[in-house]
């Protein structure tokens, strides 16, 4: 609670600082920011819904109501050096990924605009994984309290280079984005991450496809202990199986397809993703969601269905007499579906209040991507998640 008061005070002082700055009449530098004060309540009390796949705690077993899932504050400095040369620095304080509110640099890059058709960025940019996800931290930019977590559970910045080539084709704009870089995160690193995304904007429609490849390293203390032990066992078949399932060095791929239609009074958003790290214990997940919403004045109501299917791993079964590898494979099953209703109220220019209720059903035997599992946790259960948040930009 104390923390939230400090955030609000910080937000207000930053907003005042910005006003003072603007009065100088110097628009070379611009300070802005965004944030969310959010509380979520989970009915599952034996495990945690987490803000990112790397976090262990969020809301649930650790605390039945918590701000960890959604609360964050970010400040951003934009610099326009010349007409074509600009830079961005953004720091964010959030619980996700780092499991502390210590500020992290989420954007730090320079951009050069070579022509109307081509521009490039160098430095820390948002990994362009999804259609909507490049702004998945910015609650104010979204109709929901948080984007469907069956699809959007990564919050990772990429260090590298990106080029965007725009083609005007009649009333459509086709943007081709190519990128190369690496992700250096708490538990998950990606080397030689390269990909291409093509977006077509036409009127109220946006369509995007992407394909990304990279060398993924998912490392935790438990994984180190488990796989170091199993790979050195004097049981060749089991050691070999452990080597195949080892997530610490995997060639992974990530493909996405998304469509949004927003003619004003209503919208449709949908995206499907396939992330393939098989045969490692991270496996292969196919996820997707569809959300439809209606706007009435300052109110936006939406209904969202989402799902994730998780598979592509081998189960050692009887080959593993100790059961630990079997347990690790089984606990990585995140298959589930959810249905949720959200209400957004634009109370003020730059402030939105949101309420959201979701029912999540873990599929039979599935751990549902939950963290912090406690004794008594049963896979395959369903639970409810209620959220209230205030999103703001300044």
């Amino acid at each position: 609670m104390h923390q939230k008061k400090r955030w609000v005070a910080l937000a207000i002082s930053l907003a005042l600082a910005q006003t003072a700055w603007a009065q100088d009449g110097d628009d070379r530098f611009k300070l802005s920011g965004f944030g969310t004060i959010g509380a979520a309540h989970s009915s599952e009390d034996k495990a945690d819904v987490t803000p990112d796949f790397q976090s262990n705690e969020g809301v649930g077993a650790s605390s039945s109501t918590s701000g960890k899932l959604d609360s964050r504050l970010a400040v951003q400095l934009n610099a326009q050096f010349t007409d074509n040369f600009s830079g961005v620095l953004q720091a964010v304080s959030e619980y996700a990924v780092t499991e502390s509110y210590k500020p992290e640099i989420s954007l730090a890059h320079v951009k050069y605009r070579f022509s109307s058709k081509f521009s490039a960025r160098l430095g820390r940019i948002t990994a362009p994984l999804y259609m909507l996800s490049e702004y998945q931290r910015v609650g104010y930019a979204m109709p929901w309290a948080r984007p469907p977590q069956e699809v959007y559970n990564y919050l990772l910045p990429m260090d590298g280079v990106e080029g965007v080539y725009n083609i005007n084709a009649g009333d459509a704009v086709i943007g081709i984005q190519g990128f190369y870089g690496r992700i250096d995160s708490e538990k998950a690193d990606v080397d030689a991450m390269r990909g291409i995304a093509v977006q077509v904007d036409h009127g109220s429609s946006s369509f995007r496809v992407s394909h990304i490849r990279g060398q993924v390293h998912y490392v935790t203390d438990n994984i180190n202990t488990l796989f170091d032990t199993y790979r050195n066992l004097p049981i060749p078949a089991l050691a070999e199986m452990a080597a195949r399932l080892d997530p610490r060095d995997v060639d992974g791929s990530f493909s996405g397809i998304g469509y949004s239609y927003d003619p004003g009074n209503w919208f449709l958003r949908t995206e499907a993703i396939q992330a393939d790290y098989s045969p490692s214990i991270s496996g292969k997940t196919t996820s997707g969601y569809a959300s439809v919403g209606f706007r009435h004045g300052s109110l936006t109501q939406s209904l969202t269905v989402a799902h994730v299917d998780s598979g592509g791993r081998e189960l050692p079964g009887a080959l593993d007499p100790f059961g630990l590898l079997n347990g690790a494979v089984l606990s990585n099953n995140s298959s589930r579906h959810s249905i949720g209703a959200a209400l957004r109220w634009d109370v003020h220019d730059s402030i939105a209040i949101k309420l959201q209720a979701s029912h999540i059903k873990n599929h039979a035997g599935s751990f549902g991507g939950l963290g912090n599992q406690q004794p008594g946790f049963l896979p395959g259960r369903g639970y409810n998640l209620l959220s209230a948040s205030v999103d703001f930009v300044f």
Partner: protein
């Protein structure tokens, strides 16, 4: 004075209609010195939503926006981008906080838009049609 509900509703309806009748239409304008003669709705929308900055003559479009909350701005985005003020704010927060683009330069009032257009033949603005004069030409009328 307390009017019965029906009377208040009738009064409100009449007010709503009369205000839309006296409301001047918004027009998209460029400097009369510009060699661009016309823009389509799609081109105007793409320029003001930062999806492109290319003018038909190959020059770099410089959109000039009006102040948040002004009637002419609300009408412009409603007609050209099918978005209300809150949706525009949400749209720009998507682009700004991913470092992709910054919102167009903002000036206050039709006269300030005309002054900005006079300085730059690649500048594109919108004003109420009552403010159109010889310094600007209408390139699109929504």
């Amino acid at each position: 004075m307390k009017l019965p509900f029906n009377r208040r509703l009738a009064l409100l309806t009449a007010l709503a209609f009369s205000s839309s009748m006296v409301q001047a239409g918004v027009v998209v304008v460029m400097s009369s010195k510009s060699d661009v003669s016309t823009l389509s709705k799609a081109q105007v929308s793409q320029i003001f939503l930062a999806k492109t900055d290319a003018l038909p003559n190959g020059r770099v479009a410089k959109p000039v926006d009006q102040a948040d909350g002004s009637a002419v701005r609300n009408e412009f985005y409603d007609k050209v981008a099918d978005k209300n003020a809150a949706q525009m704010k949400a749209y720009w927060s998507q682009l700004t906080f991913t470092g992709k683009a910054q919102p167009p330069r903002k000036v206050s009032g039709d006269a300030a838009v005309k002054a900005a257009l006079a300085e730059n033949p690649a500048a594109v603005g919108y004003i109420s049609d009552a403010a159109v004069d010889g310094s600007v030409k209408v390139v699109f009328k929504p």
